[in-house]
Amino acid sequence: MAQKPKVDPHVGRLGYLQALVTEFQETQSQDAKEQVLANLANFAYDPSNYEYLRQLQVLDLFLDSLSEENETLVEFAIGGLCNLCPDRANKEHILHAGGVPLIINCLSSPNEETVLSAITTLMHLSPPGRSFLPELTATPVVQCMLRFSLSASARLRNLAQIFLEDFCSPRQVAEARSRQAHSALGIPLPRSVAPRQR
């Protein structure tokens, strides 16, 4: 989980996070990038760090990393977003920064953890009071969730089911189900899972 910083005490948490961000910017090593991103993503689990992370624009760092080719970086970045998006301020920032399409793209990833984190992030981004964001419940997304709900992976199945029950209206689900018969399947399931059609 969170590492204990070995820096001068008076530099503090902000200084340490800053050093991490700097290293991520400057390093050429993929290993170091992965380590730093994992570090930041784990820091994003603790709400006491959110102020610093916002100041250092780590949220945008995560969003940018979603477009990386390295699958591990994508997995860690979406994990970081999943950790910090329940917070209201962070949520607004992500929505304003246009993060939703990037996160929806992550649903296509072959990596199961990435997909799980993406689904959870979308769920947390939904505004309270059950007034759904239109992008979140667009037909392709709902269709994707319907396919996930039939998957052999229990975790994926559970999350997809929660998404369909709590964040989509029954009408949307019915519409997506009827369209599924006609449209081509656009979003492949994650690699570690063998889809089972019933």
Partner: protein
């Protein structure tokens, strides 16, 4: 359960113990060597999978060991799970996620009856309802924590830096001036003028909508404070998850045991008290004795110098130790109060029964209190 590989412990990817990372830069090496892994709420679970348990019939001991971290709802051995020779795999379901997190952190890589345990989360065993509840609790926790922080910091700022807050509020109406102040404060709090931070210093305006400013007007002022207090705050918050709930469960169980049958408790030996007694001051003790005697209206005149006729064992009094925490202080005061009442009862009882006043100190009460103190001293 889907099987995706023939290797041991690899029915699922997240069960596999990853290799420890040995290429970390010095400044970000932790106390223990760790693998490169991100923990999200999806991965964490009240279900723990324990691999590497020696197959010597120690299920009971294993469960007892894990039960130290919280109530266990159910446990069973997983016979079909691929395991090394002579080891077994167990599944333990905790009542709440926090206990599972603590247990995993403490018990992973621990030696147990000659074997090395590998503990990991097993979220695939959750039902839909359990997953839903887990996500909701996580969301509620984050919202509650950030709202508390906002409330506390706003209060603090209103009291200490009233003028600054007012000035800042005026600036809110124009984004530009607010942004400048933010950048300025950021530079000062950062402590150095590092130009190579595109993510922190450039701060393109499009990312700073007025909505964001409203909700985060605190952080600019907070930054200077928090970076100074950063480490302490981390200590309290970082330990919040791990230590707080542990403390709370111990407080609850001890409160119940002390409060109920205090008067009927047998007097145990005094050796335990000698071992665990926290420091007391003479002045406090004498003052307390004077007050107690005054309350009872004792027939023996209390000498200011303290030369009272005393019969019976005289044991050290309960000291008032400040726990540095409001809720713990409240609980400690409650227990002290209860012990005082019981002590009063026993004093009266001994006076009527034996004809003379015996200075009792309730040893068992003291014991619980000092064990209570002992647990809380880190």
């Amino acid at each position: 359960m889907a099987s995706s590989g023939g290797e041991l412990g690899s029915l699922f990817d997240h069960h596999v113990q990853r290799a420890v990372c040995d290429t970390r830069a010095k400044y970000r090496e932790g106390r223990r060597p760790r693998a490169v892994k991100v923990y999200t709420i999806n991965l964490e679970s009240q279900y723990l999978l324990i691999q590497g348990v020696p197959a010597v019939g120690v299920m009971k001991e294993l469960v007892e060991r894990f039960a130290l971290y919280g109530a266990i709802e159910q446990y069973n051995a997983l016979d079909e799970y691929p395991a090394e020779d002579f080891t077994e795999v167990y599944l333990i379901k905790f009542m709440n996620l926090q206990s599972a997190r603590t247990a995993k952190r403490k018990m992973d890589e621990q030696s147990f009856f000659g074997g090395l345990l590998h503990v990991c989360y097993a979220p695939e065993f959750e039902t839909v309802e359990e997953t839903r509840k887990k996500l909701q609790m996580r969301k509620a926790y984050v919202v509650k924590t950030t709202e508390n922080k906002d409330h506390y910091v706003t209060k603090k700022k209103l009291v200490t830096e009233h003028k600054d807050t007012e000035d800042f509020r005026e600036d809110l109406h124009s984004e530009m001036s607010g942004f400048c102040k933010a950048a300025e404060a950021l530079n000062t709090s950062a402590g150095n003028s590092n130009p190579y931070l595109p993510y922190s210093c450039e701060l393109p305006l499009c990312y700073f909508s007025s909505k964001c400013m409203c909700s985060s007007r605190g952080p600019v002022d907070r930054a200077s404070d928090s970076s100074k207090d950063g480490r302490n705050h981390h200590k309290t918050m970082g330990h919040y998850n791990h230590n707080d709930s542990l403390r709370k469960t111990q407080i609850n169980s001890l409160k119940n045991s002390v409060a109920c049958p205090g008067a009927q408790k047998a007097i145990t030996s005094s050796e335990a008290v000698d071992r665990f007694m926290p420091r007391t001051t003479q002045l406090q003790e004498r003052k307390r004795r004077r007050e107690d005697d005054r309350k009872l209206g004792t027939f023996l005149q209390t000498n200011p110098s303290g030369n009272e006729i005393m019969i019976g064992p005289l044991l050290p009094d309960i000291s008032k130790v400040d726990m540095h925490d409001d809720s713990l202080n409240t609980t400690a005061n409650l227990i002290r109060h209860k012990l005082k009442e019981v002590r009063l009862f026993l004093k009266n009882y001994s006076k009527t029964r034996f004809g003379y006043r015996i200075k009792w100190r309730i040893i068992c009460g003291n014991d619980s209190t000092v064990i209570f103190f002992h647990f809380l001293v880190f």
